[in-house]
Point group: C2
Chain length 501, copies 2
Amino acid sequence: METKYKHLLELLAEIKDLNAASALLGWDQQVFMPPQSAQTRAMQLSTLAKLSHEKFITDEIGGLLSELKGWADTKGYDSDEASLIRVVKRDYDKAKKVPTELITEITKTTSIAYEYWVESRKKSDYSIFSPHLEKIISLNIRLADCLGYKENRYDALIDQFEPELKTSQIEKIFTVLKLELIPIIGKIKENRDTVSDKMLCGEFDEQKQLQFSNELLKTIGFDFNCGRIDKSVHPFTTSFSSKDVRITTRFDTKFLPTSIFGTIHECGHALYDMGINPSLERTPLCEGTSLGIHESQSRLWENIIGRSYNFWYHFYPKLQSIFKEQFDNVPMFTFYKGVNKSAPSLIRVESDEVTYNMHIFLRFELENLFINEKLKVSDAPAAWNEKMKTYLGITPKTDSEGILQDIHWSLGSIGYFPTYTIGNIVASQLYDKMKKDMPDIEKDIYSGKFIEILSWLRKNIHQHGRKFTLNELVTRITGSELDSTPYLNYIKSKFTQIYKL
Amino acid sequence: METKYKHLLELLAEIKDLNAASALLGWDQQVFMPPQSAQTRAMQLSTLAKLSHEKFITDEIGGLLSELKGWADTKGYDSDEASLIRVVKRDYDKAKKVPTELITEITKTTSIAYEYWVESRKKSDYSIFSPHLEKIISLNIRLADCLGYKENRYDALIDQFEPELKTSQIEKIFTVLKLELIPIIGKIKENRDTVSDKMLCGEFDEQKQLQFSNELLKTIGFDFNCGRIDKSVHPFTTSFSSKDVRITTRFDTKFLPTSIFGTIHECGHALYDMGINPSLERTPLCEGTSLGIHESQSRLWENIIGRSYNFWYHFYPKLQSIFKEQFDNVPMFTFYKGVNKSAPSLIRVESDEVTYNMHIFLRFELENLFINEKLKVSDAPAAWNEKMKTYLGITPKTDSEGILQDIHWSLGSIGYFPTYTIGNIVASQLYDKMKKDMPDIEKDIYSGKFIEILSWLRKNIHQHGRKFTLNELVTRITGSELDSTPYLNYIKSKFTQIYKL
């Protein structure tokens, strides 16, 4: 059995290598690739996806998975062996349902669509992207039908990013959140003059922003020997092994928080990928467990830690030394309130912790409609704008600051957005537990010491890679399943103080 | 047959995609990869090489090649179809002789060896690299024995880079060159005071050098929509399609020619790759025909055009405007002589047109000894230094400026070096013909117009990709086979004028 297991690992390692190559091609496409190369790159990505899929769904792998199950289970649920067989079997059963030709078609379509999305967004011309979006939706419908579902076709797509989470469960959680958050947003609106972020708007040299980003990354614990930071239109994190994890960020010379919180957010993802146990290298477990858990890491660092008073108590003097002119006369508490300003924004990635979820509700609802063929792609901009009006009381002037703002659909990712709000919820659950386990956590942040925090995350989450599902992991750490109470308490307490509600 | 041919193209296109992915992984490794990632990258490259090899040597492809030969030949020797079958059959027969396991081993070994070479060179400690070199040599011996040869084991390795060229033929050409060049080097030494390059040594801001490199690339015809330029330890060109061709260069802030001529050299390679007929995209013909021909392109641009009086007549004012302080008082002719200074140098890539070939003779002779097991890796630094003394009268103080200077062996490339001198020879043969076909060529260069030159190269060489062998191509264009006379005439005439011999 040992020999058979090793053989399975070797087969899976080759697939992992192919996927790593695809990931590099994808990273390169967004960061460095010359524009004329999009078509050929699409073909290359499509070939790699096809080969990876073909090599995975073989009877040989299927046979080994069945044969090795009993043996692996004797090693214990948490063991590398049992976890690998369990998780890969789930992947295998799903993959078997999808014809290679559909995978190829999706990869080809999205790789080209990305380029059109960039152009479409730049020119704020929805008509450039919409035929591609239409194709992406119809391919996703085919994909969902192949994967199968019980309640809602959209479930099959969410399952790709957050295994076992259903549309109906998300709707339930989102309904509670809406009920609680909308009144808070209203109260903040009444007190809107309490907080200003005008000190964050101005002229901020890109090189200096990069310098500060690097400072943040180093202090938090990003290992530059195993990673790098670059620029891209939409910030993202990708990894080709736990020894090569890359983030991107973007710089807005007129608005400082874009790069700062973009960088911290992606760093949160990167620390997760860097912290996976080396024993899982080149296996399908060498990834985050789900996007919700991944997002809990980025949100924890970006918001709970990165927008806390204690965090800026440590970093503000450094920021002041880099941007003397801009911050010399701005008191620390004023700055802290500034980075926590809450106000309806048109742009998801630039919105605050309170209003952010509204953007997710909107996208979740549109995707649900798209996939159930209740909304046409051509009608989507109007639907988008209407929901923006309803949830946040504002309307985009152009599609660039409306429906074209996000990269996700261009990459074919439908079912991805809800994981952002799931991440917010999990981050608060984790932080409550961290405070219990590490009574000095506030003092650590205050002193710029992140090693204990990172160790806690590595021990409880990162090292496990994909071994456990979201619910397993959250229950194992906090004692309860997905629960929005800690998140709502956190929001209420923080914003009551900041906005004197 | 049409259908079968299309099917063959599809099979070959997938292999090409895999190879393009490998090339991107290789590029990334040298340009952007974080250091800790070397081991995993080695595994990834090894898997891709293995899959590519496995997918190529199938009986299906072998069968199609045999079956389609007659049909393809009816299309004419120059047709895409006949050329593809002819060239791929040659590749196939060679590939069949090499076990996949050896390919994997070579890729794994060289990918790791590269990192050790970087460190070894940095620390000037040969012992760090030598065990890897030893392994590379022994793998190359195995490779040569698999590929087979008639006269000399080294022939099998040269054939990988310059099909059908033999060690004995090269020895013949090199003997003539040595005989003719050594007296010229001697005469130049006597008149060494005629030329100085002190204006090229000093302080040259890297950003300004990059600005000038970009200016050169744009003017010559490098298409930034289909390519990019980056920095690496050793400059190189790579392509993932004719729409994505990348060069690297390096900047020495103390010596300007390093970046200028490095950039022009790689640009020559890149223009070749960019100019391949789009009908050959994603086929094995979408590459340069051989390294000798590739090098003829880089040498033509770097030396014959790039170090000519007319070239600098156009570019010197621009250079002066960027580096005012350094060149305001340097007359154009003094600068022209400076960039053509000939003096024995320890470093191959920084040596001049006359002495350059001596570096090649040395490497060619050492490789021939290595592969025939007549020189031990441990004795190689001493052999290197002795030959440097014999050919150029100088001795490296450290191995960094001696045996460790070149990347090639770390990449496993044995048999590659002679193609540099072959490139010099072909470049001169081509330029003689260009002067006949384009009587205004000197005036064009003088005016910074390169479009006619580029068109001529595209028409006569670039568009064909790998369709023809070196001898076929050179004969078809110039009417004669490989011939060192034009090269020797060019050297004599140019350096007689510069050094008043």
